[in-house]
């Protein structure tokens, strides 16, 4: 478990903050309307509560300090999974995209609905986003196969 400073959190985007919430297992409810400052406040609050009940980590367990004045140098594309285990592993992954977010994920054999549930926070997939496999609309029961690519079509921008 990692503890973030307010400065580190303020320098991160909403998607990264949501990923932190997932990684750390914080019980924080949010939706697309939740603002970045609200997420920062909630994470800091959960960290304080966790620190109050947990013993401090041993020195050899502590994470190295984040690089850069705002902790941004260590940013990774939030939606990309960790580096693959070689070409064989990459071949067993399917590209999943939603709007500007995308990545390759090991979801062969899963239904579209299961992939949606698994990745809805990482790729910011809404329940209204229609799934398409290789350009054709499919339903949530479709089972993903090798060679497929899955897109959840994000709504067109309308300043709503």
């Amino acid at each position: 478990m990692k503890t973030y400073t307010q400065e580190e959190l303020v320098g991160r985007g909403k998607l990264e903050l949501k990923q932190i919430i997932q990684q750390e297992g914080y019980d924080i409810t949010y939706n697309n309307a939740t603002t970045q400052p609200e997420l920062v406040t909630e994470i800091l609050d959960r960290q304080e509560k966790r620190a109050a009940v947990a013993p401090p980590p041993r020195p050899d367990e502590q994470e190295p300090p984040a690089a850069g004045p705002r902790g941004r140098r260590d940013r990774q594309p939030a939606e990309e999974p960790p580096p693959g285990q070689g070409q064989q592993a990459a071949a067993k992954k399917i590209r999943i995209a939603c709007g500007a977010s995308s990545g390759n994920y090991p979801v062969i054999g899963l239904t579209v609905g299961a992939a949606r549930a698994e990745l809805h926070q990482v790729l910011n997939i809404g329940s209204e986003h229609m799934p398409r496999v290789r350009g054709s609309q499919v339903d949530n029961d479709y089972v993903l196969k090798e060679g497929d690519d899955l897109e959840f079509v994000r709504n067109a921008g309308d300043k709503a």
């Binding site: 985007g13 909403k14 998607l15 594309p77 939030a78 939606e79 995209a97 709007g99 500007a100 977010s101 995308s102 209204e128 229609m130 496999v133 290789r134 350009g135 054709s136 609309q137 499919v138 339903d139 479709y142 897109e151 079509v153 994000r154 709504n155 067109a156 921008g157 309308d158 300043k159 709503a160």
Partner: protein
């Protein structure tokens, strides 16, 4: 074939062989333009829109009465079945309530991406027959732009149970 750019004449409609740049921010109007474009033999619609920090640009090309890329509403169900209303159908009070904060940088990004597409349309004749992309999504939060092809799907889908 010569393409021209002309303002929309609501009485006469949009003339043939026109590039239409759409920035209307409501699905009802996009639906209207999409249906009109679907009846034209040769037309290009470049439609951009954004929310606070993300957005998209979609290009629909029709050549000789056939789709080169999918229509706005084929890809976007919210345009096919709009739940909003065109501003000209709304009262001043409704317009004021519907107004949301806007970010200059997001508006500029969607305008520039529309220019990317227009540049392809104007400078690369092959793009009109074989576009490398027909929709762009951007997200300032994660610093990315994704491109999608949006080619017309065969009438018999290759995926069992899929809708073209």
């Amino acid at each position: 074939m010569t393409w021209t750019s002309a303002p929309v004449d609501t009485e006469a409609g949009v003339v043939q062989d026109t590039v239409v740049l759409v920035g209307v921010d409501n699905n009802d109007t996009k639906n209207l333009i999409d249906r009109y474009a679907g009846g034209q033999d040769n037309i290009i619609v470049i439609c951009g829109g954004n929310d606070l920090t993300d957005g998209n640009v979609q290009v629909c090309i029709r050549q000789d009465g056939k789709e080169v890329t999918q229509s706005l509403s084929t890809v976007h169900d919210e345009i096919a079945h709009p739940k909003d209303r065109s501003p000209h159908k709304m009262s001043c009070e409704e317009l004021a309530i519907a107004s949301t904060p806007q970010l200059f940088f997001a508006n500029e990004t969607v305008a520039i991406l529309m220019c990317w597409v227009f540049w392809h349309v104007a400078e690369h004749p092959s793009y009109l027959f074989s576009p490398t992309f027909a929709e762009l999504f951007f997200d300032m939060e994660i610093g990315k732009v994704n491109a999608y092809p949006r080619l017309p799907q065969p009438s018999t889908p290759s995926i069992p149970g899929a809708t073209p």
